[in-house]
């Protein structure tokens, strides 16, 4: 019973992300997509060979089989074989190679 009431209460709302700022709350209220406003990371995977992460803070670890990237939502870990950083700028990072995992491990 308790579960059902809870569901009714939370319907129509996406679950809150931890550490949501006022600006993001407003953005959600006016239904502005999250990737337009705010500094949440956007992870795009194309096939198996390319992962693009926008809005990242920096790389923490770079190895042949694992790359860890610091973002505002914690650390994203990409594992795979023969990983390379195709391109890195202050806004986005493109990782290439044979990717097997994308983890949010923070």
């Amino acid at each position: 019973m308790k579960r059902g009431i809870h569901r009714i209460k939370g319907s129509g709302k996406t679950p809150k992300e931890p550490g949501e700022s006022l600006g993001e709350k407003l953005a959600r209220l006016f239904e502005i997509p999250a990737d337009v406003y705010g500094n949440r990371p956007k992870v795009t995977a194309i096939g198996r060979g390319e992962v693009m992460i926008e809005n990242f803070k920096g790389i923490m670890d770079f190895q042949d089989g694992m790359i860890r990237i610091n973002t505002n939502n914690g650390v994203i870990r990409v594992t795979g074989e023969r990983l390379v950083i195709r391109e890195i700028t202050s806004e986005e990072i493109i990782i290439g190679g044979k990717i097997s995992n994308i983890d949010y491990d923070a």
Binding site: G58, I59, D61, F62, Q63, D64, I85, I88, S90
Partner: protein, 395 residues
């Protein structure tokens, strides 16, 4: 992304090896400072290979210092380094310069002239005008005004309705359209007589205007007035009136040619000896290679050979002038042979002299013996032609 890489190639980039424990820190600092890095490959636990632009590489030093990494260039790539290599090669530079200047020179010159004309006889006339204007193969396109040239050709060549001059690449096209000749205008207020152009017997007369002074069957002399432009009235009170006489006077005329019969005939024979003189041709210039033929008498025959790869005739080629030695030999002829030779020569001589509009009616060959015993052959040709000649009457 391809365009970015092309741009990087044009601007030049370096492949560097970064060694050190703070490799991640190095990459982070670089990305924060807008230094573009790409294709980062981990080599081992301490070093990585990456590519960076030339500008980025220059700004990299503080980042390397902060992270405690060592940066080493492994390879320089891109256009600036490629060109740099050529800087030292003097011959290459000279060749490049030479090529460029030759290309410019070759494209600023007319290589071929094409004259498009409905009548083939107009082509040499147009060529003459081009020659007097000093335009030929090899003349420069600069300073050549197609409109001016077109008007020059239109003025200098008769019977043209329209002339178009066009330069297409290295070719000069001259297009010519012929016009129909206007009929000769006859002004009635001018006074003209019809006068005989040569001696003859009148066989037929068509007088359109004027006072006819002769009649059919009359023998007329050269210069005699046949039709007068002065009309005289029967009544002397009316006076006279001058008109432009017009008409056709067909008369029978004679042409003759006489030749002494020679018993000796000079025969020209080719010997087996020949000599080639070769000329190198560039545009309309001829450069002689080799000497004069070593013969006293010779006939020449010229053959032009042009380089023409893929069917395009280049203005570079050879002209071979072959000279054949000629020997003259005297041959004694019999009387019959001598006469036939003399008749042939006399006929050829006459043919050259006959006017274009005459019709040959009869031909007579006579054999005359002269005072000193030499035999003459006389060929007489009887023709019919228009002998009317218009002569203005002086006041």
């Amino acid at each position: 992304m391809f365009l970015v890489h092309l741009w990087n190639y044009i601007r030049g980039y370096v492949i560097i090896i970064v060694t050190g424990r703070g490799l991640e820190r190095f990459i982070n600092i670089c990305s924060k400072r807008q230094i573009l890095l790409w294709d980062i490959i981990r080599k081992d636990s301490e070093s990585a290979l990456m590519k960076a632009s030339l500008r980025g590489f220059r700004l990299m030093r503080p980042a390397a210092k902060k992270s405690g990494c060592r940066v080493r260039i492994q390879k320089k790539c891109g256009l600036p380094f490629c060109l740099n290599r050529f800087k030292k090669r003097k011959g290459f530079k000279i060749g490049l310069l030479l090529f460029a200047s030759l290309l410019v020179l070759a494209t600023s010159v007319i290589w071929d002239i094409e004259i498009i004309s409905p009548k083939p006889e107009l082509v040499p006339q147009v060529q003459n005008v081009l020659e007097t204007e000093n335009i030929g193969r090899g003349s420069f396109k600069r300073g050549l005004d197609p409109k001016k040239l077109a008007s020059r050709i239109a003025l200098d060549v008769d019977g043209l309705a329209w002339v178009g001059v066009e330069i297409k690449g290295v070719k000069l096209y001259v297009t010519v359209k012929d016009s129909i000749e206007p009929p000769v205008l006859i002004k009635n207020n001018e006074k003209f007589n019809i006068v005989a152009e040569r001696d003859g017997i009148i066989t037929h007369m068509e007088v359109y205007a004027g006072n006819t002074l002769v009649k059919k069957g009359d023998t007329v002399k050269k210069g005699q007035v046949l039709v007068s432009g002065r009309l005289e009235s029967k009544n002397p009170d009316f006076g006279t009136r001058d008109v432009h006489a017009l008409g056709k006077i067909i008369a029978r005329t004679w042409y003759e040619s006489s030749l002494p019969v020679s018993m000796v005939y000079t025969q020209r024979l080719k010997t087996e000896k020949s000599h080639d003189t070769v000329y190198l041709r560039i545009f309309d210039q001829k450069i002689k290679l080799g000497g004069e033929p070593p013969f006293e008498m010779y006939e020449t025959q010229t053959v032009d050979k042009f380089l023409s790869p893929f069917g395009i005739r280049l203005p570079i080629g050879l002209t071979v002038e072959t000279s054949f030695e000629i020997m003259e030999r005297q041959i004694d002829l019999t009387m019959d042979e001598a006469i036939s030779v003399a008749i042939d020569t006399a006929k050829k001589d006459l043919e050259a002299r006959l006017p274009d509009d005459c019709v040959v009616v009869d031909e007579k060959i006579k054999q005359v013996t002269g005072d000193n015993g030499t035999v003459y052959i006389q060929v007489v040709v009887e023709c019919e032609e228009d002998i009317a000649g218009l002569v203005p009457v002086a006041e």
